[in-house]
């Protein structure tokens, strides 16, 4: 698959010599899907910008092996809105409504990888909201985290902090 990506990149680099397409940047997802975007988007994606800077703008095809073609359109949509100065509470509410828990996590990691500060801040609040008032078991399941406390350590924690363990949302509200 790595070969596929590089051959893909080569063909695209060649096509970049064509003046009509030099105005756009190609972002290549981990599963080899190419997304053509306006170069201004790099202003939002620091990782992309530094890639362009390092190559003096000669290379405009950027492989993003950590990001899938499923997640990349969301990232691009958010960045485009941000560039247009159209990030509103309403937009964010609509944006997050479309995302299930798995997608929120994927996008959070993508935002970190691409170094998109606004998206990272926004998604950390979304994740915080989604684990608010949930049980410890729910949070472990949500993130797929192994409990590495001994039963004694966990019992002690729960005893000391008993008041926070009452009144949480029932676990059967899981979305996934």
């Amino acid at each position: 698959m790595a070969e596929e990506v590089s051959s893909q990149m080569n063909s695209l680099s060649i096509s970049e010599t064509n003046p009509s397409s030099s105005a756009t940047i190609s972002l290549v997802s981990g599963d080899d899907i190419v997304f053509k975007v306006e170069p201004t988007i790099a202003k939002e994606m620091e990782t992309v910008q530094s890639f362009i800077d390092e190559t003096d703008g000669k290379i405009t095809t950027i492989p993003l092996p950590n990001i899938s073609s499923h997640d990349l359109p969301y990232v691009i949509e958010y960045c485009e809105k941000s560039i247009a100065g159209k990030i509103t509470k309403e937009f964010e509410a609509e944006f997050v409504k479309k995302l299930n828990n798995e997608e929120v996590k994927e996008l959070f990691l993508a935002a970190n990888y691409l170094n998109i500060k606004k998206l990272l801040d926004f998604l950390s609040q979304v994740i915080a909201d989604r684990i608010a008032n949930k049980s410890v078991e729910y949070v472990r399941r949500y993130f797929g985290i192994e409990n590495d406390f001994t039963p004694e350590e966990e019992a002690k924690l729960r005893e000391e902090l008993a008041w926070t363990f009452t009144g949480v949302d029932p676990d059967d509200e899981d979305e996934n």
Binding site: D32, P73, A128, W163
Partner: protein
């Protein structure tokens, strides 16, 4: 999606979902850098933060490092006849019920930074600190129980350096005793103070600690005579009368 164009790189049919998960170098939550975890956990209210600290060891260390202490005050309703206490968070509009057998027969003298200063008469060690969030308990040195405690306060969390506890007791109609100590101290420092002729406290004074000083504010006339300079008796205490309406007792920390 605006003006972004999407094209599939090869004319090969893909089962996209499967291919994606096979090929991506996935970053998982187990190896998430703690700065990222901090971003999320720092946005949780304290009850959620505490629960997050029970998820696993890494979460425990990150959650405790970003736990917000300086949040809006909660109300604690102390019920005389039961061990159940009602703690109300006005921001979340949420009530927590919790038992504190540690607080049986206690009087709450003062609260600050999540800590309570409690007094349980007639024990030998009547003063102690208690943190209802962590259930930590810190005893203070043995204290003279023969006189009634009028009011008590402390400057900052007993876990931080420079914490001073301040207790005033009525000795007689003309003498007031002021005792101070720190949580690490082995004993109280005590000094008697001559009350002024117009000294009274028909209502308990409000004690405010501000920039290292204890201000004792009383709605009634409340004064000390300065005839007995307390500074000589106890090096770290100074007393000022600002006007006949209230008194400032200063403790130089």
């Amino acid at each position: 999606m605006g003006n972004c164009v999407c094209m599939i790189s090869k004319n090969k049919k893909r089962n996209s979902k499967l291919v994606i998960s096979d090929n991506l170098k996935k970053q998982t939550w187990d190896d998430l850098p703690s700065e990222l975890l901090e971003l999320i956990l720092s946005r949780l209210i304290v009850a959620d933060n505490i629960r997050a600290s029970a998820v696993c060891k890494i979460w425990h260390s990150v959650a405790t490092s970003v736990r917000v202490v300086n949040q809006s005050p909660w109300l604690m309703n102390i019920q005389k006849c039961s061990h159940w206490y009602e703690i109300y968070d006005p921001v979340q509009r949420k009530t927590h019920f919790i038992q504190f057998p540690e607080l049986k027969d206690c009087r709450v003298c003062y609260t600050k930074e999540g800590w309570l200063l409690l007094y349980r008469w007639p024990q030998r060690y009547p003063f102690f600190f208690f943190n209802p969030f962590t259930r930590e308990l810190i005893k203070l040195p043995r204290f003279d129980r023969t006189r009634k405690v009028e009011f008590a306060a402390f400057s900052c969390s007993p876990k931080s350096t420079g914490c001073v506890v301040f207790v005033a007791q009525d000795v007689s109609s003309t003498v007031l005793t002021i005792s101070t100590c720190s949580p690490e101290a082995n004993e109280w420092k005590t000094a008697n103070y001559q009350k002024g002729s117009h000294f009274s406290y028909s209502a308990l004074p409000q004690i405010v600690v501000f920039k290292g000083l204890f201000y004792c504010l009383s709605p009634t006339a409340f004064g000390f005579s300065l005839s007995n300079p307390l500074r000589l008796l106890m090096q770290n205490v100074d007393i000022h009368v600002t006007d006949s309406e209230f008194v400032v007792i200063a403790l130089w920390l």
